[in-house]
């Protein structure tokens, strides 16, 4: 058993930012375990630009953004292992890891940051009927084959779901000479960023069909067509509107799911709404000394916010390692009235933070609303929002005055109210 102060599982944007922050906070005994052969995570296959506007005030590609953090981590001499897959984590913070180079290794950590990211929802998860032939890919799988491996996955493409990866892939496939015939979205709104709809679809005249879904897939060896149909208010397909689209490829961009298999092994309580852990203002889960940040906690639309959240997790993990167990008494933070969830879900009354960011997503597209924080019914924060949408994460920055009120409250509620 190898002992470490801090072990970070995952060397993507979350893990890298957490490692850097922990080092800068004074911690030197850090280990990052990364299952892939490179640090950087999924950013490595996101070769489009638009990353880093908040963090670096400039527009970077995914690999460039990851590269900046990798450089910081390497410059600090932080230890990391590649090709190292963690297969178990216990609540006593014992980690079992396997790799080609070192075989099976066990580590005992004082604190663990879970930064494992998320995965794509597969076809099976949304029950699309039809042929089980080749040519059906999740958008991220296609992105890897195209951007990392250098192969085209199809010529005529239909994309189900308007998540950001699907939108980005619509443009990418078009650049590579494919014809993207339609992006089909079940909901009456997109789950992706508005800027991606403009830059990836509108600029290329790719039709985006809201309130539509794929009801059948045809093809023997490879996809030959898909059938799409409009859906009613209850999201049930209206078969009289069915329309067949000839294509050889169906890409799925139908949602991302936080990857919490290790969290479950460690006994971390998960939120049924985010699919990620339930954390406090230190990003600590219900299992003492186990923290979460990034897409394992809740799916972000901008990596900049992942870095920011992970910076906090890194610093607070170091505080935990130094101070050990601090008895905490919590105020629950809940979401209601059009807000689907809020992270963190609880705030410690002992918190010494001067500021705190609450992150949330709304359940629908709303106009002319206010995001409101109430402590025991008293409105302590309000922010006007002309438009909010499920695809864009909302943030509320609380200051010391707000936090003082929260610490005294028994309950904090975040909601949307009329402007």
């Amino acid at each position: 058993m190898i002992e470490k102060n801090l072990i970070i599982i995952g060397g993507g944007p979350a893990g890298l930012a957490a490692a850097k922050a922990a080092y800068d906070e004074g911690e030197r005994d850090i280990l990052i375990l990364e299952r892939e052969q490179n640090l950087g995570g999924i950013l490595n296959q996101c070769i489009h630009n638009g990353f880093g506007l908040h963090t670096f005030k400039e527009e970077l590609t995914g690999p460039e953004y990851a590269g900046r953090y990798v450089k910081e981590v390497v410059a600090r001499g932080i230890e990391y292992k590649l090709g190292a897959t963690v297969i178990n984590v216990t609540k006593d913070k014992v980690i079992t890891c396997v790799s080609e180079a070192e075989g099976l290794a066990k580590y005992k950590a004082k604190a663990i940051i879970l930064a494992c990211g998320c995965r794509e929802r597969p076809r099976g998860g949304i029950n699309i009927a039809g042929s089980r032939c080749a040519g059906i890919f999740s958008a991220g799988t296609a992105q890897k084959l195209v951007n990392i491996d250098g192969y085209m996955v199809g010529k005529e493409v239909v994309i189900l779901g308007s998540g950001d990866i699907g939108l980005i892939m619509a443009r990418r496939m078009t650049f590579e000479g494919a014809k993207v015939k339609a992006v089909v979205e079940l909901m009456p709104y997109s789950s992706g960023l508005n800027r991606n709809i403009v830059q990836c679809l509108n600029d290329f005249d790719i039709p985006l069909k809201f309130s539509h879904t794929v009801v059948d897939i045809n093809g023997e060896g490879r996809v030959s067509s898909v059938v799409i149909a409009q859906v009613d208010e209850k999201l049930n397909p209206i078969m009289s509107t069915a329309e067949e689209i000839k294509c050889d490829t169906l890409l799925l961009s139908v949602g991302l799911l936080p990857e919490n298999e290790l969290s479950k092994m460690a006994g971390v309580e998960l939120s049924p709404i985010t699919g990620g852990g339930i954390v406090d203002d230190d990003m600590m889960t219900g299992v003492e000394g186990i923290f979460q940040c990034g897409n394992i906690l809740h799916v972000h639309d901008l990596v900049d916010f992942v870095s920011e959240e992970s910076d906090l997790a890194g610093r607070r993990a170091v505080a935990y390692i130094r101070n050990g167990k601090i008895s905490k008494d919590y105020v629950d933070v809940s979401a209601t009235g059009g807000v689907r969830y809020v992270v963190p879900q609880k705030i410690s009354r002992q918190t010494d933070c001067a500021t705190l960011k609450l992150k949330m997503r709304v359940a629908n597209v709303f106009r002319n609303k206010r995001l409101v924080v109430e402590a025991d019914g008293e409105e302590i924060f309000s922010k006007k929002r002309p438009v909010v949408a499920p695809g864009e994460m909302e943030t509320i920055s609380l200051n010391a005055t707000h936090l003082d009120k929260i610490k005294k409250a028994s309950k904090v509620v975040v909601s949307l109210k009329e402007a």
Partner: protein
Amino acid sequence: MKKIIIIGAGVIGCSIARELSRYDASVLVLESNNDVACGTSKANSGIVHAGFDAKPGTLKAKFNILGNPMFDRLSKELDFPFKRIGAMVLCFSEQDFPALTELYQKGIKNGVEGLEVLMGDKVRELEPYVSDKVVAALVAPTSGIVGPYEMTIAYAENAYTNGVSFEFNKKVTSIKQSGEWIVECEDGSSYSADLVINCAGVFADEINNMVCDDKMKIVARKGEYMLLDKTSGYIAGKTLFQLPTAMGKGILVSPTTHGNILLGPTAVDVDDKACTSTTVEGLNDAFSKACMSVPTFNKRMVITQFSGLRAHNVDGDFVIGMSAKQGFYNVAGIESPGLTSAPAIAVHVAKEVAEHLALGVNADFNPIRKGIKQFSTMSDDEREKAIAENPLYGKVVCRCEVVTEGEIVDSINRPLGARDLDGVKRRTRAGMGRCQSGFCTSRIMEILSRELGIDMQDVTKFGKGSNLLIGRVK
């Protein structure tokens, strides 16, 4: 040496091939797909039936009862997953008591051991998630679950190592007799034999009708299934049937040998015997009926759906035996309980064929086959040892099912190894987990390309025309 051709590499063709390899003969299996277990054998309930459902006196009853007890030894010999977990037939209304009693009586007549009828509360004591509406159940402790494609692959590998040849992508187009049998395939190849065994599943009627005047009709009866994530938690420890109908055994809810929960199958006769697509109606039907047995199901637990085609003989029973044309042997209409019956059918057919051709014994026959060493089920000590022996066991490729590169390389390079993504999946479980191969597809493609010495662009999902890539990027 006498030559035998087996048409079809499903569980029936492969089990007969293995049993025939005990004898001194030259056996060739012709399969129209790119791998073994590509038809009914890869998409069914995976149940080893106790034998209470089959009509007494039928071949279905006979081979079910003979086959069931063979699984304990066979699964060890051939190293495939099998668990004798027991089954229950749920009865939802007192009006159905006579039907349940009839089933019990049939079971007794067929010689099924350990059957008992329990009342509702007792049923829920054993299976707490069973619906409150269940008033009674027939419990059959000898029922079991098996990995159907693992079993088929195991039979095929053992047959192969005992000298049986396999040819894939060989769709039989004609069978002629001129002294010996000449079997011609779509690609122009032809093979001769002293005896032909028809194990062509849903296509067995087409094969029979090429030869025999006594025409056969096999209907493809589609069954759609849903598979739930392993993390759905405990739902059922036994296979939960509902009372059977004229179309089959109804919708079941069952654990699989790998700890998932399976629900289905529907039963709809279809015209297209190659059509294994799923349908909205079928999946909704399977789900809503499964909810009658276990009301707490949630569609969010589902990770994949599939369908399989049962080879239903319109005359009702299995067709096993020499046809009117000497040297042409039918094993057809093998629908449920076909998987359970397969080991017994195989022994029976091999014996009959050996007698017919006066075959001697294969003195070198080795009944033992070892499967791929599965990393996910090893203890940490075993894992450490496995990686020390082969460092590729330290490279996890499929994160959901924890399948390593060592296992994937073995699945490709072992006897009758995998040649496509689905072949790797069925042999190793890589890609069968909750992400359904989202992360590992490109890695497995690279490994297939490297180990088979083929270009990435020639890697397929399941052979013929199922290519995943169409070219290089600009």
